[in-house]
């Protein structure tokens, strides 16, 4: 009886915790987007790491890979790198520095807004990028087939 009273008293606090947790999660949940023509490609973590490390150069049909990113300091970028690539943004940045400053490669193309990201990925063959799930309504299902990364 006593225990139940305790639990009941704690309920509002637990509910508040749950709401905070859910809203925090919802505000920074990135999803992968890709050009609608890239159906059935491998969007596993292993493959995405190669794509974002600029090592995977073409998709299975021979289309050149085009990688798009948000600025380094954007929360969506940081969450995407952590969730999808299981890396830290600084580690990825370091890989790009090593590529660019040794003359062996180029860094991904940077976009400055969600709108630009969606447009570039939709219109560029072989393009891959990410947006915040809050903006997921703005893209077709055909661009989100790789968003289930768990």
């Amino acid at each position: 009886m006593h225990a139940l009273a305790h639990t009941l008293r704690a309920l509002p606090f637990l509910a508040w915790l749950a709401i905070v947790a859910l809203s925090a999660n919802a505000s920074a949940e990135p999803i992968l987007i890709h050009n609608p023509d890239l159906q059935g490609e491998d969007f596993s973590t292993r493959s995405l790491v190669k794509v974002y490390a600029m090592q995977k150069r073409v998709w299975s049909d021979g289309t050149a890979v085009r990688v798009f990113v948000m600025p380094d300091d954007s929360e969506t970028h940081r969450q995407f790198v952590a969730d999808y690539l299981r890396m830290q943004p600084y580690q990825l940045n370091r890989l790009w520095h090593r590529l660019v400053f040794s003359g062996t490669g180029t860094r991904p193309r940077e976009v400055n807004s969600v709108k630009e990201m969606i447009e570039q990925v939709r219109n560029t063959p072989g393009a891959i990028g990410y947006i915040d799930s809050a903006d997921a309504g703005a893209v077709d299902a055909a661009m989100k087939t790789g968003s289930d990364h768990e």
Binding site: R46, V58, S60, R86, N93, V100, G103, T106
Partner: protein, 421 residues
Amino acid sequence: MNKLSLMPLWPALLFGAVNAHALSDDFQFQGFLSQGVIYSPDNPFFDKDTGLNFNYREVGLNGSWTANDRVRLAGQVLSRRAGDLDDGDPKIDFLLLDYNFYIDEAVSAGIRLGRVKTHYGLYNTSRDIPHGRPGVFAPQSIYYESMRGALISLDGADLYATVATPLADISLNAFGGTAHFDNQAVEYQLFQSSMPGKFRDIDGGGFQVMANPRPLPDLTLGYTYIGFVTEYEDGPSFTPAEVLEGLNALKEDSSLYPLYVTNLELEASIHLFSAQYSPGDWIFTAEHMIVDVHLDEIEMLHLSVPKEIFPDKYKSKSVYLQAEWQAMEKLSLYTRWEKLLMNEDDPDGSVYEYYTGGNPVTQYNEAYTAGSRWYFTPDFSATAEYSINEGAAFLNGQSDIDYSSLNKHWDLFLLQFSYHF
């Protein structure tokens, strides 16, 4: 002179800072700056005296143009001040045309022509990139300053390929060409003194194989082979009377011998084994290098030198073990143990001292290093490290120091601020 020659770079730098990364889709433009603070209380490091100095800075400007999916042009100008080892004059670090002539999902192959970075170990291509190396310098036991010029880049070609096989992802490079190396550093590396003649540009070549096994993709295993050859040119010539005089002078002071070298061919074969394992926030790295040095046709005062007096063949060996930990998003910590023996058969330098009169501590170096890097932003960082050294081989190649007074035990504190744009 040094400052003047850098002046034209600054407007370009400011322009770069504003227009960083991308001028258009096909052009990329970026760069980096770094400034070091060196405190070396026991031995001179990048300065003729012990103590505090600021003689280490780097400015790099980099651009590339992607013509299409197959063809790319890339170049970089680097101004590097590293004590008297590098004077800060801007140099073309690389300037290359990259033609990716074959590409499918499993295989990519191409060629880079022009001045290309030498694929040597895990860090050579990124040793001058502040955020690309693990600390203020790439590990000195393998990437030591005096050999830098010979190994940094080649005017020639680099054939490359990456192959995804069921067992491993493999990357291959094969390269060859001419290296414009810094004579002074090599003379001081070999003889701890300036010589009347000079070594001609190096002809070199080699290959590198790196593999990431499929079952352990976080593991990289690599092997690099490089062979190079150079000759001593424009050395002095002596009349018979001068030869006699020279022999007498050598009897008095054997350390004068570099002045009397009249002929020398230097050949080196480098074998470098690399391993890196990077699970999650950790990176564990080990490299082991063997350099077979062959000094051929050595003549002093036009007389061939008996092999008993001057070893014509020897092996340099070095190794390091290193751990890096991205402790927090903005903080990485690292530690390293490393050891370099200039001649494996003379680990304490005593043979060297006996024959040349030189300081034995210049023939080996063991070091323990601990450091940390803090990222104020993804592009701006401060790196601080502390090393304890036994032996002073890492200091070879500097031309403005007194080798005879180098201490066996020395500490080094380094702080470096780096900015990439």
